[in-house]
Amino acid sequence: MRRTRKRQASRREQRRTATFLQRRTFWHDGQSAMQDTREKLIEFRDLQKIYRVGTELVHALRGVSLTIHQNEYVAIMGPSGSGKSTLMNILGCLDIPTSGSYLLNGTEVSHLSQSALARIRGRQIGFVFQNFELLPRTTALKNVQLPLMYAMLPRRRQRALAALERVGLADRAKHRPNQLSGGQKQRVAIARALAQEPDIILADEPTGNLDSATGNEIMSIFDELYASGQTIIIVTHEPDIAQRCHRIVTLRDGMIASDILSERGRAEAAPEGRPEFAPAVGAGA
């Protein structure tokens, strides 16, 4: 059991480097096979989520199929109530779908036990929330150490410090949330999501509570993480933010309305100066 996990972890590591290299090659060669050469990280097949409110049934997701590969940088957009958060919660194993299949790293997770889901949340997923969700009266460092503690990883302090370093907050390690600005709080939250070296970082409106300048700073951190090989999925209402990602998935009424490359994505995918080469990704509903 532990052995497999270890092997999985090292495989993930290799994959991350591999996809990073592939992406590089891809830029140079101008091949359009991006979706096929990268390993599938997330695969949704006909996912449904139905809430029951009293006697009413609320169809939050009505048949979503979506594939996300290693080191993709995805924005999820859509009007309020279109099911973005619902989708993210299922992605993050915080919730389970009513029907359909969800393969994470090739493992079906929609039927896993509570503690197995908790384990996945702790080791493979890093969540960033709109309102930061830092523990009050707890230092930034301790906040970042929280997932490491649950994952029982060794060298928690060093890892947490390294994560704070990556978001540029090493000098605020001893500060408590009420001693930090909104942007700093969100950076601590990102460090917390990073600390466990997850496969995916999921951010539900991470800039929703921040002004646009601070929002941009936060996005720069995501950009850097992406550049170092991290897979990132961000829910946002702001087109500016979405354009900084490479792929934009738009939901409407619990279904995928469109799934396209952003301008940046097209620019990076296409050979120098020839954006018309950009491939159309996914199949919009």
């Binding site: 915080l94 908790a118 949340r121 702790g122 969700e133 997932p147 029982m152």
Partner: protein
Amino acid sequence: MNTAGRLSRAGHAVAGAAARSGQNILTAFAQIWANRGRSFLTTLGVIIAVTAIITVVSFVEGFGRYMTNMLRGYGTQYMIVWPDISWEQEITGIGRIIMDERDVEAVRTECPDIQRITPFLFTETQVAYRKSSAKQVPTRGVTEAYQVIRNYYVDKGRFFGPMDVEKAADVVVVGRSVLKLLQCDESILGDFVQIADRRFRVIGILEPKGSFMGDDQDETVMIPYTTMLQMFPQMRTTMRFLAEARSEEVIDQAEAQIRRVLRQRHGLTIGQPDDFGISRQDQMLREFGKVRTIAASVLAGIVSISLLVGGIGIMNVMFVSVSERTREIGLRKSVGGRRRDIMLQFLTEAVVLSTTGGAIGVAIGYVLTHMAGMHPQMVDINVPLWSVALALGFSAGAGVIFGVIPAFKAAILHPIDALRHE
């Protein structure tokens, strides 16, 4: 995988678990401190319960030890035999003879397992010396055997002897506290005092005995019982006596012998009740054991009620804590906290809360016991270690029992619902 690797991984797991419980305890203390007002109020029940355990146990233990030592010091070999009379007769001396010198003499000669015997007359008299006088001084009329039976020795002068008793001599042995009452010192030896208008020569001073159950043992004078009978003739018919068995092993036989002799002399037939009573020192010890058991059950009652109240308080505050921290629970779950982790965290908090209350109770108990111990009349008391362990164990147990339901409520929260909580 090699052994070293497995070991180091197991080491990590253990270290991780330890770090987590350490973290849980720290979190618990931080939480309790953040809400110190309400935490204190909710632990009052536990504090009271534990204070009760500590102080009551200390007192009962202290008194128990004291009583036992004291009674052993007074000898456990003797018994007191008294006539079973009405108050009226005791006071007026009018009525039939129930117990007199002939009974005492019969017991002395006919009971083989009795080695010493003395009549024991008791009253309170006024004692005067020069210009000072003391009222209601306990006055005992006995023989020389009394000092041996009760370990009441003189350390200045002498006790009266058989001759003094035979002649009904006007001699007295006084206790140290009486000297104080009479505002004099040991120079009184050889001098005369006035006891109930009769002149007595002081021939001995009793060694200090201290007090027993608040009763000053040194505030007494002793005179030959024969002299006392001359002063209070009505005592002749209702005489008490002390009889000492040959050893602790033969007390039962000695008692039976006394009973047989007295019943025979008093002409009691089978079926008629005794017209006298026999009280044994070892029985007093046993009686005291019963008192202890009663004290223990009363204590158990107080403790269980206040632990129940305290426990419900803790349960209540834990429910409040869980609902206040619903979002925190959601967050903890979203970063990998399992149900059992959350459960353990809140259970730890409840136990830390109740055990802290217990520790405060122990501290208060110590202080109270110490303060009581400083009183000069107080027996030597201290807090037995086992009562501390017991009290802390009980309070931790209350934390577990009353923390389980709130902790479970926290553990089964759905992560999303918890995070959405306002």
